[in-house]
Symmetry: D2
Subunit: 304 residues, 4 copies
């Protein structure tokens, strides 16, 4: 199996971009083990550690891009999440400054209020299928991929934000067993991956899950001619559409967007009438938030 180590990778990336040189090339159908750094760029490794933003002003470094042979704009990648393993036996979390707070970010309220939150650095050992939030509290190890996406066609998008290209969606459903469909927008599709979490709640309200460096095993396939507006996911029991907030898309709009994508999917691939699909989704669909910027709609496979 091919491997993309941090050593091979040399430079991690803070944008999903068509301008970075591939660090690995694969053929459709190949499996790869990708080594990824944690979202703190490895700066929080022991109690008391803090982010050094002078040294690294950005967050959420990505491995890749991986060039997929034969992929072109208008195709889709299908990425199977096979396995996610911690590489240093621990994860970490913290409380970001108020200015960072999702929704208040770039909003100088924090500066006006002059409030400082506790730093809250917390190292969480991982062993025997458990993540130790504290000495007393063990959570189940439920690993997931926080950030996965392809290069946009002409943009380079910060790895902190999600969008139609994927990116920092933080869906806990992107875990071993999940199949992720991503739009290809550039030659080779240029897959980025990183930001593994040992555990994460819906909405990731503080903005930092239990972040860990990891080895992520994926299998990469190519679906020629499949044009996607947004990433899709297939789980054991659900098909899933996604959307994200952004200029012109509030969380309300993103929710509707994910539903409309589902309705069109049910019509196009499963032969359901769109209005019947609309009515059926109203009764059986589940909604799951990734972080506060991303949302997904889940339709139970048993009704397909």
């Amino acid at each position: 199996m091919k491997r993309l180590t941090l050593r091979d990778q040399k430079t991690l990336h803070y944008t999903l971009s068509p301008f970075h040189k591939p660090t690995l090339t694969v053929s459709p159908g190949e499996s790869v083990v990708v080594e990824t750094e944690d979202a703190f760029s490895g700066q929080i490794r022991k109690p008391g550690d803090r982010r050094d933003t002078e040294k690294i002003p950005w967050g959420n470094p990505q491995s890749g891009p991986i060039y997929v042979e034969g992929a072109n704009r208008g195709d889709a990648l299908l990425v199977d999440i096979v396995k996610i393993e911690p590489t240093i036996g621990q994860g970490a979390t913290r409380i970001p400054p108020l200015g960072y707070y999702p929704g208040l970010s770039t909003l100088p309220l924090a500066k006006v209020l002059g409030v400082e939150l506790p730093h809250g650095s917390r190292i969480c050992p991982i062993k025997d299928g458990k993540v130790y939030f504290s000495e007393k509290l063990a959570l189940p190890y439920e690993p997931m991929v926080g950030t996965i996406g392809t290069a946009p066609e002409i943009e380079a998008i910060t790895s902190v934000l999600p969008g139609p290209h994927g990116g920092n969606m933080d869906f806990a459903d992107i875990c071993p067993g999940a199949r992720v469909y991503l739009p290809a927008n550039a030659p080779g599709a240029l897959l980025y991956i990183g930001d593994a979490h040992a555990a994460q709640g819906d909405a990731e309200i503080s903005g930092t899950a239990i972040e860990m460096p990891a080895e992520i095993t994926i299998k990469i396939d190519l679906v020629k001619g499949k044009r996607l507006r947004w990433p899709r996911i297939e789980l054991a029991d659900y098909i899933v559409t996604t959307s994200t907030t952004g200029a012109g898309r509030t969380l309300e709009d993103a929710t509707r967007s994910a539903f409309f994508e589902m309705i069109l999917w049910l019509e196009e691939e499963y032969g359901m009438d769109r209005w019947e699909a609309y009515q059926l989704c109203t009764q059986v669909a589940r909604v799951r938030m990734g972080n506060i910027w991303s949302i997904s709609t889940k339709f139970p496979k048993k009704y397909l």
Copy 2:
């Protein structure tokens, strides 16, 4: 056990209001069977039926208010949902006009576009623990209470909207076994209930679940001196806080609001440090949408 039938009720209510006369009085600890009409005011009973908005311009009629002895502003009601049974062996759903569409309502886009959606009236028989979405497709009967709330102190709020007083929250988690805490804002608290659903997906995207007239069995308790900003729910496995959208609260704000309520709850009643609670919620909380206006945060009881 006391009963509040539609016959007793005489007039159903389209607002949650301190101005309606109680139709029943209970002592704390009493159980009641409340008969409720469906959200269409019973106007859709056979295929082809349509809402007659000349006759009844409002939606979502409520039974009650039930006066709870001893309740006053600053107390909380605790309502146990015991049982929800269909009264006519069927439910109904439809596709509301575009103008109604959540988020576009009162927004004359529909009028500008001149679009008309199919009516989509659909009668769904309920039997043997199944709801028949169609002849071919049976869904599990998973009944829930769409609307439950208390009278605001001085306002009369349309039964179509949710708010800090409860109302049309459409949480599928408000099902048999759930314990719902509601703020008391007026003497007797004045409990309203209605809008039973035989099944409903998260976000209730079309705005109409499988709506049914029902008999709802509840047990009503009083928690003196418990002041609530928003309704709370206790489930077998979770404690749940809620919030809703409204002027000054986008869906992003409502999500944060529900989380902050949870953090304060964990601090006040379970002795957790608020910042530790904030960090722990980030790893283990679940978010569940009711309709597109309401959202809940769920914290697993096993970590209390």
Copy 3:
């Protein structure tokens, strides 16, 4: 000219509601001088004064309702703002607690942060066409009506919020010379008015303008059979449509809503093609925010 004094009024109202008894009845075409209290219920009259929310938990008291003979659901009131005069030669402003902060209200962020803002009580003398923000800084006296609206049909809506019925819209354009169209939803329309401001900036960002008790002279007319979805305003140079935020209407949606209302108005009453109106609005319309919940679209009369 008829007068409605605070003494006549006896009890001020904190909701716009069909349930309050009229304090004055007028015939269409009559002018009235209405005495109004300030938004602090008169509790801030000298430096150091604070709101006593134990005594009066609500804000923004209203005079009225005024019963307009012949008005019924489906008609419109036309209210000319003739004159606004301070009654005690001063106004007042303050900084509300963070919990109040528009958009954070009912959001317990403030409680989590434990932040307290300065109280900021400020008495502003008004004389010779000036409002003294401080001894050194005189602003022009530019009086306006913060809250004006009619009773909803079955709801009683807090006087703090705006909505399709009018209410706390805080449009600085509702000043002497403005003609305000309001929907009638109940017999007699039941007009409420209050919350005069000696000066106010767009968005009223702290939530409190220079609030003053005032005598407001209005002329009340009735337009039979004119059904309105939202209030409209006519100024010397503009026709104006309005909208507000609320559950299902973000500020983005409210902005679009006001534009679509304008486009339909231009089509229905001025014979413009709706798509041409849409294109022309894109080039010449102005947008003005009232408070952070309300927004208006202004079309220049010279292009009618």
Copy 4:
């Protein structure tokens, strides 16, 4: 005076990016005439013309980047808008497809509804200080720069969206006489400019103003060590702060953000106490929307 013609420019850019090679280099203090294409990439020049998105899938082409000697991350550019002249004596507007509609974009509602809007291509001759919306309707020629911004540090951002780096803000106030402050994020700052409008209303509701190819005369200065979170503008009578919507910033948040920036500006450069500034802004500030993604707060200079 230096000139940057479309011929010199060779390739127009559809992102604001640090990866494009400068097409001109200037010293601080120099003036430049920049030739810009219209937002349709010149594809709509006569009645009936349509956008050919096969040929050019992106919108809003930019001239530049202009390298400013001595500029570095942490400095600010000061760009004086001197003159804006149409180069072909006409502008054009149209109605974009529903899918494009701001707020519904990337939201497949249009596809679900199957609605098609009229194309609405309209050529508008410009002469003698007038823009001819139609043969009968002449609007004043009020030219403005729709898009101006600097390269982000590591991102390449579509020229269609605005952000902290500037970009497609569509503020009608960016007209001759305006002084625009932009953050420098990269060596040389890399200024992009384009998207001139002959006229535009607030919110640019259809998404297309009267778009024209133009010659824009600017003077470029450098303010060393001036760190900006967002662009600022100085007008004859106002100082102006700006913000934009985006993931985590609804229009409500963006409005507050622009106000908080203003309050901090008043404190830092004009010695006002921040809470007094907050109170004064509440009374005297104006808010002006650019397009539906961008908003500005204006403080009258007379109160400085």
